[in-house]
Amino acid sequence: MIKLELQSVRLGYGDNVVVRDLTFRVMPGEMVGLIGPNGSGKSTIIKALSRVISPSSGQIFLDGKDISQISRGDLARLIGVVPQMPLLPSAFTAFEIVLMGRNPHLRFFQYEGPRDMAITWQAMEMTATHSLAERRVDELSGGEIQRIVIARVLAQEPKSILLDEPTANLDIRHQVEILDLIKNLCLENNLTVLAALHDLNLAAQYCDRLILINNGQVHAQGTPGEVINSRNIKEVYEAEGCVYAHPVNGLPAVLLKAGNSKQAKPRDEIEGGVV
């Protein structure tokens, strides 16, 4: 529901420039995956879009409005962020954590009312975390915490959701569950979603469009079929990837081949040619 736009943005921490000259846009209602190797600047871009860091040059626009002109409170009503491995205070209950998502909608000395409670509860139902409501954070597993934080973002009622590695440290069932949930939210509520993803296969399965980042610049962007091919993977990741069509939906899928390590002998050599 909101358009995100980066125009020749330069980002970094002190003298260490991470992103040099980045330009891309995410259209309203789109689910876009941000892929690229470690250190390519994916998390930094998420931080810049939520104004945790400011670009040293270039501009970021939300629906055409410069992000530096938007107050923190207004920004939190537009953009919700699911951080990578969020740290939560252990003595709070899951419900209290999700309720914190209502903060940008509350006035200075206002307490959460019935409506805030209801929205919070509904966000927990959507993420299937309502049964955990009264549990303390230190009693929750990694996957449950990840879902709690997504519920918090839903309670925030943003127009756009940014996710930084939402499936890191989750098993395959939870990876699929989380991304299904986000994809459905994107479709049903017309949310603009930008997700930094490590897993190329998941990125190809769920995203409308992928942006491949390398050395802080856009290396390629387009549909998963256009971006994920063995040439791009070799250029960006410097790894051998075997790209084939997914047997069910034909979307690109990546299989890795072992590199030059000593154990990486072909199977037939090890087992005397019997396969």
């Binding site: 205070p89 409670m117 209801a118 509860w121 409501a133 925030q156 049903e188």
Partner: protein
């Protein structure tokens, strides 16, 4: 507008979760409010001169507007109650409340359970100011009290100002740098204080007693100086209670939830520092209250700052009034330093709470 917006309904219909703590916490605030008043009246009754509890209550009530009680007590009784005991009790309550809320605020801001009101150089700055005050060849009573509290107050604030400017990096204030700068500068002041103490000759007694903290000889003029700082500071901190809750996530998440983190840190540090400096200046450095009271409240009533802060204020007041009562009556006519009492009585109680819960309270 997202389609998951919902219409207002009664909470019980929409949210089938019980909130066991919320109502309990409100009752706790009311209960502690009553306890504070009762403890104050009781502490005013007890002392070297025996005054019956009812007489004390009648003297106190007669001071309220619209209450008409004919005095049936000697005027010395009234003087003892109103000019000697009551200012002392009120100051003890005020300082207890101040240290407790300042401690809770520092713990929340630094996300560190070991933080206390003296973490960033308030205590050592105040002590240095007080030590200099003791060594000055003159005194000044322009505000109804000596020059020592004024120098202690100035020392505390200057010390934190120096720590703050040392720790600032560009537009941000990293909390770890602030703690380290505070500890380092505190150690530096500490060495100067030690030097002043050993070279102070016969004034050594005054300085050491000040450092141990005492409510002896409290006056109304001191209460009127401390009161505005504590009331205004505590009100500001209470207004930001919800923001303090969100700060418990981490600074990045707090920003993404709409908190202006740098502004919040500045406001809360300033408020908590003013409160602590005002409290410390008159009664010296009273340890233990600022770190233990907020934790005890957390153990019993949970980590939500909207309840933690007011509950800490009231618990701190009750605790320090009782501690001072013991300090002045246990070995009467000798006064026990209040710091001794706070630790002797507070530590076992706190350890009992800690053992009863047996789980992480803070992080």
């Amino acid at each position: 507008m997202p389609s998951y917006r919902v219409e207002p309904l009664p909470v019980e219909q929409v949210v089938p979760v019980r909130f066991p703590h919320w109502r309990r916490r409100v009752y706790a605030i009311l209960g502690l409010l009553v306890a504070t008043v009762v403890v104050m009246a009781f502490a005013t009754t007890v002392g070297s001169v025996q005054i019956p509890f009812l007489t004390t209550c009648r003297v106190l009530l007669s001071q309220l507007p619209l209450v008409d009680i004919a005095p049936t007590w000697p005027s010395t009784t009234e003087t003892i109650i109103l000019e000697i005991r009551l200012p002392r009790v009120v100051l003890a309550g005020l300082v207890g409340a101040a240290l407790a809320i300042a401690g809770a605020t520092y713990q929340g801001l630094f996300r560190n359970p070991l933080a206390d009101p003296y973490l960033i150089g308030v205590a050592q700055g105040a002590a240095l100011g007080a030590a200099i005050g003791f060594l000055l060849p003159f005194d000044w009573y322009g505000m109804g009290f000596g020059i020592i509290p004024l120098l202690a107050f100035t020392g505390a604030l200057s010390s934190v100002a120096i720590v703050y400017s040392l720790a600032r990096v560009g537009k941000t204030l990293p909390m770890t740098t602030l703690i380290l700068a505070g500890v380092a500068l505190g150690a530096f002041w500490g060495s100067i204080i030690s030097y002043l103490i050993i070279t102070s000759g016969e004034k050594i007694h005054g300085i050491i007693f000040w450092l141990m903290g005492s409510f002896a000889l409290s006056q109304w003029s001191e209460v009127t100086f401390v009161l505005p700082y504590v009331v205004v500071g505590a009100a500001i901190i209470l207004l930001y209670a919800r923001s303090l809750n969100i700060m418990q996530l981490d600074e990045e998440q707090a920003q993404q939830l709409g908190i202006n983190v740098e502004k919040l840190k500045l406001i809360l540090l300033a408020a908590a520092t003013l409160i602590t400096a005002a409290a410390v200046s008159f009664v010296g450095i009273i340890g233990f209250v600022g770190i233990i009271i907020p934790h005890a409240v957390r153990l019993v009533w949970g980590p939500d700052y909207r309840f933690l802060l007011p509950l800490s204020v009231l618990s701190g007041a009750v605790f320090l009034i009782l501690a001072d009562l013991i300090a002045r009556t246990a070995l009467a006519p000798t006064e026990v330093p209040i710091g001794v009492i706070t630790a002797i009585c507070g530590a076992p109680f706190f350890l009992y709470l800690l053992r009863r819960k047996k789980r992480a309270v803070f992080f």
